[in-house]
Amino acid sequence: MPFSAAQIARQGLTLAEYQRICDLLGREPNAVELAIFGVMWSEHCSYKSSRVHLKGLPTEGPRVLQGPGENAGVIDIGEGWAAIFKIESHNHPSFVEPFQGAATGVGGILRDVFTMGARPIAIMDSLRFGPLAPGKGVSETVAARNQALLEGVVEGIAHYGNCFGVANLGGEAEFDPCYSGNPLVNAFALGIARRDAIFYGRASGVGNPVIYVGAKTGRDGIHGATMASEEFSEASESKRPNVQVGDPFLEKLLLEACLEAMATGAVVGIQDMGAAGLTSSSCEMGGRSGTGVDLDLDRVPQRETGMTAEEMMLSESQERMLLVAERGREDEVFAVFRKWGLDAAIVGEVTAGGMLRVRHGGRVVAEIPNAALTHEAPRYQRPVAAPPSLAPLDPPPGAWPPAVSCAAAFERLLASPNLAAKRYIYARYDTMVRTNTLVAPGAGAGVVRIKGTDQALAMALAGRGRYCRLAPREGARLAVAEAARQVALTGARPVAATNCLNFGNPEKPEVMGQLVEAIAGLGEACRALGTPITGGNVSLYNETLGRGIDPTPVVGIVGILSLAGRVCGWRPPAGHFRAPGEAVLLLGAAPPLPPEEEVRRMGATELADAVLGAVWGLPPALDLERERALHELLAELVGRDLIFSARQVGLGGLALSLAKCALARSVEEPETPFVGARLVLPSGAAPGSDWLELFAEHGGRVVVSCALASAAAVEELAAARGLPCRRLGETIPERLEIAGAGGRVLISMPLAQMAEIWEHALERQVSAEAVAYV
């Protein structure tokens, strides 16, 4: 054997995998080939631990034009248009180097979208960090680092997206100690293209030239994919050079040039050079088409001298694409890239026989069947154990019902970073460039219209790590339901999903157990809600020093909102109350639960974690059939223009949902008067029933406001769908007043005081040093 066990391990391969390589090649690999196998068979590129389980997900539907397996998913949105979208993780790089890690995460997902011929029109991000404030087992040092990570990541996203020129519609940001050593940075992008002008990552047509376009290749990001497939240790700081450096300006030029080149008709196939750069783009394009690719590395534009074949094949320099053009029409492609001042060079040719052949310095340095790198990559049925029970089923003694008052708990929740206004984050993002944004960050879902059509697209991201910690299957279902609900609030019909599965080390059977359960939950919910999964990614090994994250499947849902017949200037319902004197209603209700289960299902709430300091029991309840009926009801209510505002009941329960209805507007329009509400909840006499009414997080519930005269119509439409609808009260100026049964006041607070807490809670936890760090 020409390699030592250590050399093989350094490429992230096991000895068994090495043997399989020898079998596939019929010989021992050389060093370049071993490196190519190492990166293509990494967890990040091959999905070797998750692929067998992902098969169970629903991926087909009437609108799905392209499911998983391409650069991004594609759905038909009508009027001859298609939406192309995906979510992807950049967790590991963002931990090592937050600014560049997050920036290149955005850059990578944007390329995945425009490589398919789509112009990106929206991005969103799902972010998770450790706590920003010390205490509860979080040291000063760790809290300070978490602040620096938040700042770096947000600045990186802003830097890349703003310069590129794509509207950022927000997303979500959460904080939990399990993300201290492993922040999650999941970036979502969506673009649109004509249905008949989608491009695929295929190297078809033997004899066609393979053209390299975009930035020059350097030594950055080498082995990035392998790094993303390992746990972190104290030595991970030394991985900084593995993180790529992004240039959004170059990416903007690449976008314009690619779209213009595609319009010439000379482009046969195209794929971005993301993880594993030149290697993955060439072998995957060949693999999909059953062709081979000959590459001559001497012709690759390089920004450093003396690069080895291995370095060039594994470089993850950003803002590069590989395309296959029609032979004889290369000049049309070159003319476009010249116009935009970008490198373009023929670096190879499509061949028959399915072989990836790499030349360097005039000799062949690698010769591998494309299929060996793609379809033949290992698939593991890793040992699966039932997910561990990570919390007791019942609350710790004395914890329930809580000893504090509802009002005190409410005030503390307003300041919880998970619930506080996220304006501190999204104010730095350009949310409107390209002038399509109908609903900007802050409402739950983002909405962009499509110029020249009667269509708009709504989109939302959701992940529920704490729920998944207690029951991964239920947690995953709740995440899907929440993202779809957010989309439905705008009046859009949820039609498709993308997902990013963030988990710990798959070599631990209980982590595999979490993964398998979560995938099952995703599948159930996506089937029930009519949102097939069109793609996404899997991020495993989110562990540092053996401490793994909560299983955190993050779901992105896209919905279609028809604007046909709308008056000029129409907008979807707001996420906040409009004016005093309007009716406030709660649509939907939690499924009936036995009393002891009611309390168990409070154990994963924000109330339990942030106020009571304990987590127990099970995630909130969810009835998927009712959830779907609720989405249909919302489409109908918005279609008939019956409601002014809609906001889901999520983290923090009904109380926080009402608070946000009263506060959200003041964040965007500081000089407008506050509109609150006076409400009565029908809580019973049983101990703790006020708590259940105010703070339970069960799915399938939405707060809407409407004209007093419309309330009866809303109630009727809900009843027609078999959905409960409860009139809670009316909007009033300047205060939020919530009473329980018999008029007992539970919460009564001036909105100005609530706003003072809620609007700035997040930034109060970030020190000036963290801001200066970026």
Binding site: E155, A158, N162, C163, F164, G165, D247, P248, F249, L250, K252, L253, W340, G341, A427, R428, Y429, D430, T431, M432, V433, R434, T435, N436, T437, L438, A440, R449, K451, C568, G569, W570, R571, E668, E669, P670, E671, V771
Partner: protein, 238 residues
């Protein structure tokens, strides 16, 4: 009327300006490529927002050397209307067509939000259809919008009424959080000595439809159309 919108490498609000001037203001709107000195017979030129040349070196510092800018300088010298929006304003300052410079925002972060602007002077091609003191709700989206100018020039700008837009509260009066970037004297936009060149940080092309939150920006485009139409009428009459 023909309105040219310059496309620099890295411009990213060029499409929005073309859409506002073309589809919404109903004019012929054409892109002008940065490498060409031909303004294609445009009656007015817009330098759009974005990150020309990646904002490398300094915002607008490289774009000012583009061939198209030689043509824009001649066009401006001839008294023709030129509007710089955001990055376009930065380029006009770097080019010496407008006084002053735009520094990093006082808060150090990129800021994207609607602001209120008070129209301080209506004798420019871009404010002719506004009322003096009119308040417009228009978004900003920039990292470097902190306008500075030396004291003598500031005096002169005030004296010559060349401050065209100021950040203000909803009612048009100064307000504590109205200024999003720390700009000197709440200055959001200024005009050249000849008043035909105007630059501003906020994005009027993003406030042209009620569905997007405001259509107050249309006032800027309507002003331009009105000014050009009046000129044409004069020419015909003359």
């Amino acid at each position: 009327m023909k309105i040219g919108v310059v496309v620099f490498p890295g411009s990213n609000c060029d499409h929005d300006a073309l859409y506002a001037a073309g589809v919404l203001a109903g004019q012929q709107a054409v892109p002008l490529w940065h490498e060409s000195e031909d303004l294609e017979g445009a009656d007015a030129v817009i330098l759009p927002g974005g990150f020309s040349y990646g904002d490398y070196l300094r915002t607008g510092a490289i774009a000012r050397f583009s061939p198209v800018m030689s043509a824009v300088r001649r066009f401006a010298a001839a008294g023709r209307p030129v509007l710089g929006i955001c990055n376009g304003f930065q380029i006009l300052c770097e080019s010496g067509l407008l006084p002053g410079a735009l520094l990093r925002n006082a808060g150090l972060h990129f800021v994207c939000r609607p602001v209120y602007l008070r129209v301080e002077a209506t004798d420019t091609p871009f404010t002719a259809a506004c009322r003096a003191g009119q308040v417009l709700r228009i978004p900003v989206a920039h990292g470097d919008g902190n306008y500075v100018v030396d004291p003598p020039t500031l005096d002169r700008l005030r004296r010559e009424r060349r401050v065209i837009f100021r950040y203000c509260g909803r009612d048009g009066r100064p307000a504590p959080d109205a200024n999003p970037n720390g700009a000197l004297d709440d200055i959001a936009g200024v005009a050249s000595e000849g008043r035909n060149v105007v630059g501003l940080m906020p994005h009027p092309e993003r406030a042209v439809e009620a569905a997007l939150g405001s259509d107050d920006g249309l006032a800027i485009f309507r002003s331009l159309v009105q000014t050009l139409a009046a000129e044409t009428a004069l020419t015909v009459a003359g």
